[in-house]
Symmetry: C2
Subunit: 336 residues, 2 copies
DNA sequence: GCTTGGTTTTACAACGTTGTTTACTACGTT
DNA sequence: AACGTAGTAAACAACGTTGTAAAACCAAGC
């Protein structure tokens, strides 16, 4: 195994604590001793044992990011932001895939790995308010997404309602009147889908357009295949829509595929807008209009909140951060 | 903080070690004592401190996966496989983004986090053979990709040369004769790009077609934008190609975008094939033909090798695993 | 009653690190 | 000459856990 502080001390002919002092830049170490220790440090290729440090009460410099699905581009791109920005805090990011409620639970509630990490950022998908409130683990936590609970938990989100309203308003501004939505999740209340649906309906109301429930397609999950299936459903309607707001970009890409296969022009026959701003949308044919949340800002805010809580302890009052979003108009709602 | 073993012992009225014995299913504990301890364990919601366990010489149950770029779909999808399969070994995966040589180095060579993890799987991009050989850290390691070094390191890969040959042969079978390649990396020898180029040339040679270096476009990185730029270069040639083999799917998608913008038909004017088999290609317009490595098998093999090395120690001789790949023929080289 | 042998429980040490306390040195001040 | 004081170094304890070894308990056999 690697050299421990003890080996270094022996090698340098000083005490263990002196080595520790050198490592931690303790002020009162003579230049001579410091040099001697440093030489031993280099020669033995010493590397600190994080477990021991953590055990002693210190920190590991590792924070965990738990996302539902790392293979989804939005989360992959978000994770990349976290990894990058975490460096500024001197942190390494442990990325974890929750996949669903069960694992999510395990991480947040049981805190299995909590002794290895300094803090935890969770993007909840299946996590309910109750589960968060029942959380026993004391590891500092920041949630991504709307505030689900009154429990004292920091969270960072974007304004999903406003984003959905902006997307829908954009379709309305194109003159579309029969606007569909893909991605509702009727069985889940209070989640992202519910908020985006609310924004969708708000925009319709403002434009004095009757809400037609048959134009709202649920999606079990948010993958391309779900959007593909949902779009086909919509095209089978007696009166198909002339525009679609998809609750994320993957659904939109699936929808575009279905439209293409069935020979519908985009945006001529049907205009399509997504949500997320993943890079894939910018290279699709046609390129995809979308609402892009400021991912860098999300990561920045979440990490700042986490740092505050790690430093300030559990005492600090819970805080919320909002990241902006922007409307990106591309071919799927623009000029072909 | 959470309850420690000491608190549990106090609460149950037994010694610390007895609690430890119960936790670890030590055989000689009376039923009565066991029940008493278990009750205290439950009541105090005890959870073991992994740091302490690790410090004591045990394992964390955490393995790290280091990929160059988590936001690249291939790596995101690969990482998802690892996360899933690792569960079968009782492991949690710590995903790490290396981004380039510098960080890669830090992880593999310095082993910064090595005290927190049981093993490490690295997908090297910029890592050179020399760096691997100079590695000092003793953490069990499995490399993804071709064998770069004679150092005793396990590795798992696919046959890149054969894959590239298959892709190119497929283009040749369509009757194409002026076949370009996108993604060479002339300044890096022995890497993936070099192997795929070798396979490309081998297929041409078999078909007795002269290798035309002007048709080989380098790519600094493997993103959509690089493929887009490279394809535009190729289209500016006096004699543009009638087919392109892109060294990964993202390059291919960028190339398709460029072809679309310049009004070239695919596969009519130019046939395009990629490499990786990411899901995005199956929803692109046109859908993308590609070589798909068996990602599940890659993960399975790598984890098996890692487990072997963790159990068997450094003594075991290095082993190699090969995962199969398949040729997926879709619209970009098929019937539109 | 006392050894024997097996079962059950405990004390102790150790893993590597750092905060606290203590000890020593050299210097300048009374 | 005795006395701070500041600078430097080291001894010790502690974090939570588990392996080792020793101790305590119990029943059976003489």
């Amino acid at each position: 195994m690697g050299a421990s502080i003890k080996d270094v001390a022996l090698h340098a002919g000083v005490s263990v604590k002196t080595v520790s002092n050198v490592i931690n830049d303790f002020p009162f170490v003579s230049a001579a001793t410091r040099a001697k220790v440093q030489a031993a440090l280099d020669e033995l290729d010493y590397r600190p044992n994080l477990s021991a440090r953590l055990l002693r009460g210190g920190r590991t410099g590792v924070v965990a990011l738990a996302v539902p699905e790392i293979s989804a581009p939005y989360f992959a791109e978000l994770a990349a932001q976290f990894v990058q920005q975490a460096k500024k805090h001197g942190w390494t990011v442990l990325i974890d895939e929750t996949q669903g409620a069960k694992d999510s639970e395990r991480i947040v509630l049981d805190g299995i790995k909590s002794h290895l990490i300094d803090g935890l950022i969770v993007s909840p998908l299946a996590l309910t308010a109750k589960e968060i409130e029942q959380r026993r683990d004391r590891t500092p936590l920041v949630l991504l997404g709307e505030r689900l609970t009154k429990a004292p938990v920091d969270h960072v989100s974007i304004d999903n309602v406003a984003g959905a309203t902006a997307a829908t308003a954009h379709l309305l501004a194109l003159g579309r009147r029969r606007i569909a939505a893909i991605g509702s999740q009727p069985h889940i209340s209070g989640g992202t889908a519910a908020l985006r649906l609310r924004g969708f309906r708000a925009a319709l109301r403002t434009a004095r357009i009757r809400y037609d429930a048959t134009l709202v397609q649920p999606a079990k999950s948010y993958h391309r295949a779900d959007g593909y299936a949902a779009m086909n459903q919509l095209l089978d309607l007696p009166q198909p829509p002339d525009a679609v707001f998809c609750f994320n970009d993957l659904l939109a890409i699936g929808a575009l595929r279905a439209l293409h296969e069935r020979g519908r022009g985009v945006p001529g026959d049907v205009a399509v807008i997504g949500f997320d701003g993943i890079e894939e949308g910018d290279f699709h044919t046609p390129t995809l209009s979308t609402i892009r949340p400021d991912r860098a800002e999300i990561a920045r805010l979440a990490l700042a909140l986490l740092e505050r809580r790690i430093d300030g302890g559990a005492s600090a009052s819970p805080q919320e951060g909002y990241a902006p979003f922007e409307l990106l108009i591309r071919q799927s709602t623009g000029h072909p």
